[in-house]
Amino acid sequence: MSGVTVSRRRFLGGAAALGTAAGLGGLAGCSRGERPADELLLWGVSGDQVPNQQKVLDGFTAAHPGVKVVARSVPSAVDGDATPVITAVRGGDAPDVWYMDRFTGAQYAAIGLLEPIDDLIKEFGDEGITDDYLRFGVNELTYQGRLYGLPVGTDVRALYYNKTLLRDAGVDLDELDPKNGPLTVERVFELSGKVTKKDARGNYTQMGLVPWLDQGWGYTWSIGTGAVYFDDRACGLDLTAAPVVAAFQMLADWGRDAGHSQVNAFTNSYQPPTNAAPSQSAFLAGKTAFTVQTSTTVFGLKKYAPDLEYGFTFLPVQKAGDQPYTWSGGFSVVAPKGSRMTREVWELMKFYGGKPGQQIFSPATKSLPTLKSLFDERSLADMKPFIDQLEYSTSRPPIPVSSLWWDALVQVHSAMKIGSQTPASALERAQARVGPQMEAYCPFTMPEGYGQKGL
């Protein structure tokens, strides 16, 4: 127990006017001693990725003998809930390096949760380190011109299809070959019509593409309709622009025609809307012929449905001849406030987020590399079709209100699923929530090159 705690104890004892307070000292939970400089604390991955991370860390300690890395899995109750890290930082127990979903990078930077790493780059002579990284990955970690971390892995969204179901419905699978380019949305729905089945009571028993399921976010479709969410000149977010409305309208129309409650009753039988295990999915169960999913899904397919005969192609486009499109997410290594920002910390970030780390981590977890020089790695050959899509890809806008913005869009999406609101009014409500919050951060400009395609 440190001296500070003892004085607190005294204060309490007095305040409480209870002798029992004296017993508190023994109950103070873990005591936080200072960690030695060569012992780094990492908040890393969790679950079955831990062994893969351990391989990366083993590689790091082999290259940097004398440095010890203590890796901790951090429970995050729900997505986008920053409670753990806020608690740790405020409690003076912050990790040195944090494996963070980089989508919220700009937001956490804006609220002062992260340390910029520009000084580390300069101090240790690593200028130019970002050149090899995917631009959108770096941009997601950039806020007001400063860099806050290194992107570790990424993914793309694609249209997966169940070959058996389609073949049984008499569909020629050649049409779905990626070398023929993307299909139109209309055509995918036509093919879907061929596989759709209902039982005597009118319940769906088999469907084609349920466009809002899995990664079929309204946001995903809106990239296809050409939505741009942020306008630099006006420093404004626009969720009510025509392309955004059009994307959500597509979902609303489809839902109206297919019957919202019938579709939900069908999909949610195999895929609970929340708390679904990764093995619980209508596509994995062989009940839907198509789904929009991330490249990482090949991992789950292999694990939970090894016999499922599947293929994947580009996301369907609005009209024939449109350019393919997709978007990417992924994780990063960052230094939260309270990180000691030493050479060792920087070395760990560079190793984990750089070539050596990704060479180990990407093949094992089926995530795509963020380093262009790794695109042709032999160990990543099976992911090559996805890697090739990265040049069409972009990330979600790195804005300081990113989780609020995303939540608002997900809620509009949720309204489309149940048909409770029109796209226009739902998006207006979302705009009313997010717009004013964004204004508080103005003036703000997007990182250079955001939204432009190409590597």
């Binding site: 409480a16 307070a21 873990c30």
Partner: protein
């Protein structure tokens, strides 16, 4: 708002005589609320209805236990089976080894025991002050106690978080147990109702004999209030054991985390391969201590709150 929950009111069907053994309500008849007894068909009917109600209430518990014994494949079969084909006791050993179950169990025990001890002691003292010592302004102040009964917890969430963060108490047990040192409206209210039945004559006699209040409180009143204290102990044990938001906000380090959040942690660490059967097994293990506690103290417990009355 509080006059109805009257600080002056006493409860209990009869003036309580002195001594622990006689602090017992006149309910030896064990009658139904309306004092009647049922016979013949209506007795059967009432039993059938009650058994049905009990089964309905126990269904989720049953499902939890049944699920905890299934294989993961059987969990995913539709329609679900009522009882596992082959009960998988291994789920339990797997569950406790997949996440730091025993560490979290120990944390839960420490936090719960400390909370209970502190709650019992502090609420007893405060209730004694409100029930057994007569002082000017006492009842007015008790209205304030009752008013705080209705204070919404969220109001305190952020300020307390900031306070405890500034004190450096985050990721320690302190934010979850220290507040129990300072009594709480609900338990003070329960205990006070009970203590009001302690005969004044007995207290006065002790005072005339020269006993100090402190001594009277601990030697005379505390032992006779044990049933009500048991009720407070069990209520606060359940509240501490099942508390979700508190540990969620204050404890992020698995070394200090409790089981209630541990279950959520278990789920989040298994994102790629969630074993629901093990999750259910872990849930069963979380519930068992409370169920045991309830059965062991059931008799005391019910007497404690019954005697307190609600007036």
């Amino acid at each position: 708002m509080t006059a109805v929950l009257d600080p002056r009111a006493t409860a209990g069907p009869e003036p309580a005589p002195s001594g622990r053994s006689r602090l017992r309500p006149s309910r030896s008849t064990g009658r139904a609320p309306d004092g009647s007894t049922y016979g013949g068909w209506s007795a059967v009917l009432v039993r059938v209805v009650m058994i049905a109600l009990c089964l309905l209430f126990l269904l989720p518990l049953y499902w939890m236990v049944a699920s905890s014994l299934k294989t993961n494949e059987e969990m995913a079969t539709y329609p679900p089976s009522w009882w596992p084909a082959v009960p998988q006791l291994g789920n339990y050993t797997d569950a406790v080894s997949t996440f730091p179950f025993w560490t979290m169990f120990a944390n839960s025990v420490i936090i719960t025991v400390a909370s209970v001890v502190f709650a019992v002691v502090s609420n007893f003292l405060v209730a004694y002050g409100f029930a057994c010592v007569e002082w000017p302004g006492r009842d007015k102040l008790f209205y304030v106690v009752l008013a705080t009964l209705f204070l919404p917890f969220p109001v305190t969430l952020i300020p307390m978080f900031d306070l405890f963060a500034n004190l450096g108490w985050v990721n320690t047990y302190l934010p979850l147990i220290v507040p129990h040192l300072f009594a709480s409206a609900f338990y003070t209210f329960l205990l006070r109702q009970f203590l009001l039945q302690v005969p004044k004559d007995m207290l006065d006699a002790a005072r005339v004999d020269g006993a100090g209040e402190w001594r009277i409180a601990w030697r005379l009143v505390f032992p006779s209030a044990l049933p009500a204290l048991t009720a407070v102990a069990i209520f606060s044990a359940v509240a501490a054991w099942n508390d979700f938001l508190g540990p969620l906000v204050y404890l992020q380090d698995t070394k200090v985390q409790t089981l209630s959040v541990g279950l959520q942690y278990f789920r989040s660490t298994q994102t790629e391969d969630l074993q629901y059967n093990q999750l259910m097994a872990a849930s069963v293990l979380v519930v068992i201590p409370l169920v045991v506690l309830f059965f062991v103290f059931q008799r005391y417990f019910l007497r404690g709150i019954s005697l307190g009355g609600f007036k």
